[in-house]
């Protein structure tokens, strides 16, 4: 089915069109959700909310981007809505930690219980440490790093989702890696 026709069917509330939509996107949406929120149950809830939002907002879709891009944008927004609600970390702690102050990464204040089935036991602790560090990055760096490094999206795809140029993304990625390096350095220094 052509995308225009498919969108028309979705806007008409056609049940079989939504059947097809979920078949096509459920895995991708869920994968993106669990990349941002490494808890299987929470990721499933958020993924459901994404499709509800698509259903409720499809009449607002103007076709100025691909349907997939629009869905990923909704997915990213829903993940951040969830994280913002749950996150108790103070913003200034990020600045203090990159300046080398002795504020260790507080794993107890992570916004969800770490439960990612795709992570093997031997790597669980390191991945947990990394996800905690990612959670302390500025939001835009967190989006770019997560979508590229964890969700495996290309810079081109990410640039369409978050409406930034590829060169901006490269710069954000560089800064994200630098900040993560600093955060992890402080963490491992405090651990010793």
């Amino acid at each position: 089915m052509q995308e225009d026709t498919f969108i028309f069917e979705l806007q008409s509330g056609n049940q079989s069109a939504y059947n097809q939509l979920i078949d096509d996107y459920q895995q991708k949406v869920f994968a993106t959700c669990i990349s941002f929120v490494p808890n299987k149950e929470d990721a499933e809830d958020i993924a459901q909310e994404v499709f509800i939002e698509v259903f409720n907002s499809i009449h607002k879709f103007k076709g100025d981007s691909k349907l997939s891009t629009w869905i990923y944008r909704i997915t990213t927004n829903k993940c951040f809505e969830f994280i913002r609600k749950k996150n108790t970390k103070k913003r200034f702690a990020f600045m203090q930690s990159i300046l080398g102050n002795e504020i260790p990464m507080d794993k107890t204040s992570y916004f969800t219980e770490f439960n990612h089935p795709g992570i093997v036991l031997e790597n669980k602790e390191r991945n947990e440490t990394l996800f905690h560090a990612i959670n302390q990055l500025p939001e835009i760096q967190r989006v770019v790093f997560t979508l590229h490094k964890i969700d495996g999206k290309s810079y081109k795809e990410i640039s369409e989702i978050i409406k930034k140029s590829v060169s901006s993304l490269e710069s954000l990625m560089f800064r994200a890696k630098k900040n993560l390096q600093k955060l992890l350095e402080n963490f491992y220094k405090n651990e010793q």
Binding site: Q26, A31, Q48, N123, R126
Partner: protein, 103 residues
């Protein structure tokens, strides 16, 4: 120096651990749950009075109460006027016959 090397080794190993993250399959019956939520939600909206939410219930109730109070007050005032007119007529203090220009 040795400590720094150790820390850097840990940092590198942490970044490398990300490469080992495997894709997680979407939970079973996910589609069924979503379809149920989508199309039972749609049925609720098809009811004619779906817009008549609890805040409208309250507003309507307050309006009806105010209307009743106003009507009751008006009724009390009318009843009083009727009583006064009746008293006046009974004791000849007031004539209820209208004067006609043809008399």
């Amino acid at each position: 120096m040795k400590i720094n090397k150790n820390i850097q080794h840990n940092i590198d190993a942490t970044f490398d651990a990300l490469d080992s993250v495997k894709e997680v399959d979407v939970p079973p019956f996910f589609k069924e749950k979503v379809m149920k939520r989508l199309f039972s939600q749609e049925k609720e909206e098809k009811y004619i009075w779906f817009w008549f939410t609890p805040k409208f219930h309250l507003a309507t109730l307050v309006f009806v109460i105010v209307l009743n109070l106003v009507a009751f007050t008006e009724l009390q005032a009318d009843a009083y006027n009727d009583n006064v007119r009746s008293f006046g007529t009974t004791y000849g203090l007031q004539s209820d016959a209208e004067n006609s220009i043809f008399d």
